[in-house]
């Protein structure tokens, strides 16, 4: 052994008792294993030449929250190293080593080549403080299964996390961490949400494609970040106007008289503009 071999552990702040959550990655992971179904997954840590691969604990229900917690502890470690005078790059480099080493202490994780197409792929970017997961969800209704490819992305420090359907490119839902901690969230609730969003999209698409009739006004109303289509349709006999929910072509009621007066003025005004041009 070299004469000048020495341990410089005191110069490197470690997780130890000072960390807000000192559980190991394996301890975090064990919590979700009781009802887990074996699922393949890889975790790519930006800056690490290889990925961490598991053949059993890759499912969102098992891995997402424990990984998020470990990443959060590692980010706190980066902050402590920087506060101790270490450069950000050095702190990030150490953080990658630590996260990978902690995960590799769990026997279900091994090093593997990157860019493997798996059902579940997690990307940890400690430099930008983000966690991204690409996964497949299955919604089963009456013995029929719908497959959804999704992408969950958000800040490691705190939520919310955006769930995007990569097939359609649309945002399905924004979720808080507390929701993701609920049992069955990824296996039951989220696939259901994807299915609901898909059905809504299908319900609205015929509306967009269908031809507009005479005496018909269409309007998109923003509701909680989603555009909801409405149709105002004039009755041929009475001259009154129906209000229809465009998502399911559902009749909601008649336009009240006050609104009808405004609508009549609007339609007549537009007709005048059209006659002049």
């Amino acid at each position: 052994m070299a004469q000048n071999s020495r341990v410089l552990a005191p110069s490197i702040p470690t997780g130890g008792g000072a960390a807000p959550d000192s559980r190991s990655f394996g301890q975090r992971l064990n919590r979700g294993r009781t009802e887990a179904v074996a699922s393949v997954g890889t975790v790519e840590i930006a800056g690490l030449p290889q990925a961490l691969h598991t053949r059993t604990f890759g499912g969102l229900d098992v891995l997402f929250v424990p990984l998020l917690e470990s990443c959060r502890a590692i980010m706190a470690f980066v902050d402590r190293m920087c506060a101790a005078g270490e450069t950000k790059q050095q702190a990030l480099s150490m953080a990658r080593l630590r996260l990978a080493s902690e995960m590799l202490q769990d026997p279900s994780f091994t090093l593997a080549t990157r860019d493997i197409e798996e059902d579940n792929v997690y990307v940890v970017d400690l430099e930008h403080g983000t966690l991204t997961a690409r996964a497949r969800l299955y919604a089963v209704v009456r013995h029929r299964t719908s497959l959804f490819k999704i992408r969950i992305e958000g800040s490691i420090a705190k939520g919310p996390y955006t769930v995007q359907d990569t097939g359609t490119g649309s945002t399905v839902i924004q979720v808080d961490e507390s929701q993701m901690r609920q049992a069955g969230y990824f296996t039951t609730f989220l696939p259901g949400e994807c299915l609901r969003a898909h059905i809504e999209k299908e319900a609205t698409s015929p509306l967009a494609k269908s031809e507009m009739g005479l005496g018909e006004v269409r309007i998109m109303v923003p509701v909680a970040g989603t555009a909801v289509p409405f149709i105002l349709r004039q009755k041929e006999t009475s001259g009154g106007w129906d209000i229809i929910d465009g998502r399911g072509n559902q009749w909601l009621g008649m336009l009240p008289q006050v609104a009808l007066n405004h609508l009549t003025q609007l339609v007549e005004g537009l007709a005048r503009i059209a006659r002049r041009t």
Binding site: L8, I12, P49, S93, L97, L104
Partner: protein
């Protein structure tokens, strides 16, 4: 060049069969001063200097006065060449393959996990004994 210490067919329960192929690459008893940086048991960080006992293109062996966790990842930066002159080498990531108690600490065997050049000298590449070199190729690409 120091004598080669090629070790054939070593049975090691901790090494997969595929790794055994890669372990046939020639080792050289070259002493480089290296700096190691990583995390030991209980996530205790370390940065330490030691010297290699032997090296190969993808692996190395050295001793440290503390235990390093098998499978953990660390960086190794070569500081000097075999003549003791300063070397300009970047840190490279390795994985601990084996940690065994030795007289003055722990003997560590490690594999690098990327294809970067580690050593300040070019090591001769031996012809493979096994015509089917795919396993070695896979190991070098990072596959298990």
């Amino acid at each position: 060049m120091p004598s080669e210490t090629i070790k054939h067919g070593l049975a090691d329960a901790t090494m997969a069969t595929g790794h055994a192929h890669a372990r046939r690459e020639p080792r050289f008893e070259l002493t480089f001063e290296v700096e190691l940086c990583g995390f030991g048991p209980d996530s205790q960080g370390f940065k330490t200097r030691t010297s290699t006992l032997d090296v190969s293109e993808w692996g190395c062996r050295f001793e440290v006065p503390f235990r390093m966790e098998p499978n953990s990842v660390f960086t190794l930066q070569c500081l000097t060449d075999d003549k003791g002159s300063p070397a300009d080498c970047a840190p490279v990531m390795f994985q601990v393959v084996r940690a065994t108690p030795s007289g003055r600490g722990w003997g560590i065997a490690a594999w690098k996990i990327a294809s970067e050049k580690v050593w300040p000298v070019d090591l001769p590449i031996a012809a493979p004994e096994d015509p089917d070199e795919r396993t070695v190729g896979m190991r070098r690409d990072g596959a298990e």
